[in-house]
Symmetry: C2
Subunit: 210 residues, 2 copies
């Protein structure tokens, strides 16, 4: 391979072109889906708008839902930044985690692409992998400081991951957003061993984005 | 329609034949899947064994996973009976619920068809609808007797439904069956407001099938 074909990041010209085509498909998909709603957009619409062939689409993605993945990752990073600002200056891991959960649940509820993705018939494991366990660091701190009482961490994480998706699904079925966000935080704190009364009080603290 | 074509249950001959074809497909599918493993069986194998055409299969089911539904319902009924026997004579709703959850989690783990169904990429809502909330009656009793402390019942049910599927998924990823069953019970009790120490003790009571 000639030196001219390779960038400093080690991408060949072929790889660069492939990445740029992929980005064009994702941008077209986002624009169309935010415009018309996810349901109304076909793969044909996306390939027309991105000016690529049908076959090219399938080189990069298997389904319409797959195109949403990089968008969801991007949203997810933005929301993690918002969580950091909401928890800024707070030291209690229980309060930090509660704020994080409430911000994330609201963010998913408010973004039509994210909500669609969550209710799109994606498998449970996919949903969990996509959403992750946002407040992982506060969880570690809470464990160290014995703020939390967790006998089996992997089992507890599986339990919470599932519960989180359960709550997102209830949003799609019409549950109130703020109440769902607060209840998610409250019940996660209970799972982590925070006494019921205290969990309720922590999960109702005002949220301030600093 | 002539009277001769209708049974006392109000089924026409056409409907009876359709139901019997469906049953034959389900039986063939179960036999093959228990024999060879779910993955190894194709729709073609099933239609061959049931002696029906490919088109006939699709009159009744959309996918291979769909054929498992009636089998899972049947297993589910059997397990509910086992739960009743395990909880026989116990009056504490927390202990009854804990026993019920542990029996159900073990049953799902032990049946290869049920486990496959749970990890088959079925959507989250489908999984929840299939599994239901087994200990619904004990939940009602626990609420009435203030054994449980639940501020928002629908939200709590969504949370538990999701958590339950999360735990089943962890089984498919290699988590220990008995430990997963016990942890599911323990964490559900925490969610219902049972203090952490007491929840741990209740979830470790021996299971006796009466």
């Amino acid at each position: 391979m000639s030196k001219e074909n390779t960038t400093e990041q080690g991408m060949t010209r072929f790889e660069r072109r492939k990445a740029s085509t992929r980005a064009r498909i994702v941008e077209a998909a986002e624009r169309l889906m935010r415009d018309r709603g996810v349901e109304a957009v076909t793969i044909q619409d996306i390939t027309d708008a991105a000016d690529v062939g049908h076959g090219t689409f399938y080189l990069h993605f298997k389904t319409k839902g797959d195109v949403l993945r990089p968008l969801i990752e991007h949203l997810s990073n933005q929301v993690h930044a918002r969580v950091d600002r909401a928890a800024h200056g707070e030291t209690d891991p229980a309060l930090r985690m509660s704020l994080g959960i409430r911000v994330v649940v609201r963010a998913i509820a408010e973004d039509p692409l994210w909500s669609w993705y969550a209710r799109s018939g994606a498998s449970f494991s996919e949903l969990v992998a996509q959403m992750g366990t946002p407040p992982a660091e506060d969880m570690r701190k809470g464990l160290k400081s014995s703020r939390f009482d967790i006998a089996n961490l992997p089992a507890t994480v599986s339990f919470i991951d599932g519960a989180f998706v359960g709550m997102i699904t209830s949003l799609n079925e019409g549950a109130d957003v703020d109440e769902t966000a607060d209840m998610t935080a409250e019940l996660v704190l209970r799972v982590f061993g925070v006494p019921a009364k205290e969990a309720a009080q922590i999960a109702r603290q005002p949220i301030e984005i600093h």
